[in-house]
């Protein structure tokens, strides 16, 4: 949470920069402002607005940014600005800005374009389903250097269908799999392990359908194998992945409900591993640290 949060202030579009400058000043005014990126977040509902607003109060401290939350709403363009600041150990201030732009879908892209900070990368975060908003996504993505969405919310098929709209696409469901992929990759650091994994025949996953499919797609594309997927479980997070091979089983599973898990390879030696449940803000923050496309994800999505 921020050390100083300024209550949202309504303004018109032309007054956004002036109002933000005023909010940034306050009693902590600085003559140099550091900002690292623009984040354009699509919000299809008030829940989406609240979620991204809460996330900015977490991730904005380590990545000072301007967040433009675009919400399609009937009527004229309205803007509401707010700003959060954090004081570092040396007394220095980090400041992130949030502008909620409410406008008709046709007007939103131009409203966003005018408020982007020049020369900084633009991340587009799409929340929820795509459905009939595809044209709006296409217009917003045209200004973005990277598109973030969550296939757990919009589905893998829809995700695949928008992959060509942007030079770089990533998926928060994919980000959730990072610790699991790390753990499985550890088996293949040795030649014997890699050799056995190259003889894999099937993968069993207990967890969400999208993530299980992406996991299988990842193993298929990286190991260049035709692997069957056996998915089970109804939980909201991955609990277990087992890769069957003629060389034995490679298992990664969560132990209990915490962040601790274990890996067991064909040698039977058990190793502890961290399998953290990262919250939504942490997932978004992790993806804001990365620029460019993710070829491994694209190949995994295609093979899912």
């Amino acid at each position: 949470m921020s050390d100083r949060a300024v209550a949202p202030t309504p303004t018109d579009l032309a007054g956004v920069d002036r109002e933000l400058a005023r909010l940034r000043g306050g009693s902590h005014g600085t003559n140099v402002r550091a900002t690292t990126l623009n984040l354009v977040a699509f919000a299809g509902s008030d829940d989406h607005v609240n979620r991204i607003s809460d996330a900015i109060t977490t991730i904005g401290s380590s990545r000072p940014l301007r967040a433009l939350v675009a919400m399609p709403t009937p009527g004229p363009v309205r803007a509401t600005v707010s700003c959060s600041s954090w004081l570092g150990a040396g007394g220095q201030e980090v400041c992130s800005e949030l502008v909620l732009i409410e406008a008709g879908a046709a007007a939103l892209p131009s409203a966003v374009l005018g408020l982007l900070i020049p020369d900084l990368p633009v991340f587009l975060l799409w929340q929820g389903e795509i459905g009939e908003r595809r044209q709006l996504l296409q217009q917003l993505a045209g200004q973005a250097t990277r598109l973030l969405l969550d296939s757990d919310e919009c589905g893998l098929e829809a995700t695949a269908s928008v992959s060509r709209l942007t030079p770089a696409l990533t998926d928060l469901a994919w980000t959730r799999l990072i610790p699991w992929r790390e753990a499985l990759a550890g088996f293949a650091d040795s030649r014997d392990g890699l050799r056995a994994l190259r003889r894999a025949t099937a993968v069993a996953a207990r967890g969400p359908a999208n993530e299980a499919a992406l996991m299988a797609g990842w193993l298929r594309s990286r190991l260049e194998l035709h692997l069957g997927l056996d998915r089970s479980g109804r939980g909201q997070s991955m609990e277990r992945v087992a890769v069957q091979s003629s060389g034995g089983e490679f298992l990664v599973e969560r132990v209990g409900r915490g962040s601790v898990g274990r890996t067991v390879g064909p040698d039977g030696i058990e190793h502890p591993v961290m399998l953290p449940h990262r919250d939504w803000a942490a997932l978004v923050g992790a993806e804001l640290d990365r620029m460019g496309s993710d070829r491994v994800y694209e190949a995994s999505l295609a093979a899912a």
């Binding site: 550091a34 980090v94 990072i178 990759a185 650091d189 890699l194 601790v260 190793h271 961290m274 070829r295």
Partner: protein
Amino acid sequence: MTTAERRKAREENPLRAGLRAGGATTPTAFVIFGATGDLAQRKLLPAIYNLAVRGLLPPRFALVGYARTEMTDEQFRAFARAAIESHSRTPIDDHFWPAFASRLHYHAGGFDDDAHFHALADTLEQVDAEHGTEGNRVYYLSTPSSFFPVIVQRMGAARLNRPPGSVRVVIEKPFGHDLQSARELAEIVHRPFRERQIYRIDHYLGKETVQNIFAFRFANAIFEPVWNHRYVDHVQITVAESIGVEHRAVFYEETGVVRDIVQNHLLQVLALVGMEPPAAFDADSVRDEKTKVLRATRPLSLENAVRGQYGAGYVAGEEVAPYTDEPQVPADSVTSTFMAAKLDIDNWRWAGTPFYIRAGKRLAKRVTEVAVQFKRPPHLPFSSDAAEYLEANSLVLRIQPDEGISLRFGAKAPAPTLVIRSVNMDFLYGSSFLTDVPDAYETLILDAIRGDGTLFTRQDGVERAWELCDPLIQQWQVGQPQVYAAGSWGPDAADDLMARDGRRWRRP
């Protein structure tokens, strides 16, 4: 499998593609000699715990503590937990602790006993079997340097230097107390270990802000063209501490400021500021360039150096005692707690542009910074009144505290007539990235496990640094340092050193 083969296998691991954590992957047994000592408690054990929590340790990892105190594995785990609770930058995660603690083992033994080293070899074989660490070893010598020779000799005798897998040995400074002893130590360490297996730690190089000197110089095209004698008048490097010798008086009496700060930290920073761009950011390329600039640097000389010893005074409003009143310091001590010097670098980049260095204890404030003072414009088209208060441009890289960069330039003051004033534009790293910065030991331990020696010092660099310092240390064996008031910026002679060249110290 050799280390190169393992690295190749890792690089060929198709499942590693696109993963970002940057952690170590080679199965490793990490052995700390002196595991119950102060450094292990304050730095090493917390650093390893934080690496584990961040998921940066290899999946197959075990830590073996070695020290004289009799202890079981369980007692060592309790000891480690207490050390981590007291000194870690992150609190202990009770869910994670049991899994982490299961990787900790302990072996009691002296440093001069062959039998214990042979027994340690047996323990490590058991650790390999239990944790799958495949015979790969990182040995960390966290003991007083006087034990280094005997430990590495015993390691060789017990064939700990020839495990089934890769082997690296990490050594803490000081690397000798002069050129001769540094060479003698190297000769002993080189008997069981090759140079590329030796990782000499200078924790300064693990600091994020020191590494930022690389990023600042070599990731920005706008500064490098003016980073030379044509545009830079001189460079000032300051490593100032506000504290006194505290509990290190016995150690400090034997070392003094030149051995404690200048020979290692300060010359390393000088090398980073003065080096040519390396072809690649890898161990050999970076260390080659650092050593080259040190070779081009003239040794410290009596006529270009000033020494001092702090007397009574006030630091941050608190009255403090003189050095000679500190516990365990002889009343007639001639140990230097301050030094300032002018260094010339004889190469195309820096010929005629001196580097002024100063370091000391009980100075006005704690600060480490590099100030690059640029030359004045060749011609000012303004009246002398207009530019009366205009200073030359300067660029300050602040390493600690308040890490950042400050640029001073001239700007028109709002006035009906043309008046130019100097203004500072400050950039604080903390205002761009308010993140929890890893401790330098986390960075360096991870690099040692990964086999990346870029941030460690190489023997040729160590020897060159002693060659630069030894003549002055010898000459300062006689005579008295000037006493300076605690809380000041050193003796007046330090100001005179600059004034004779028409320059003055920056006030940090």
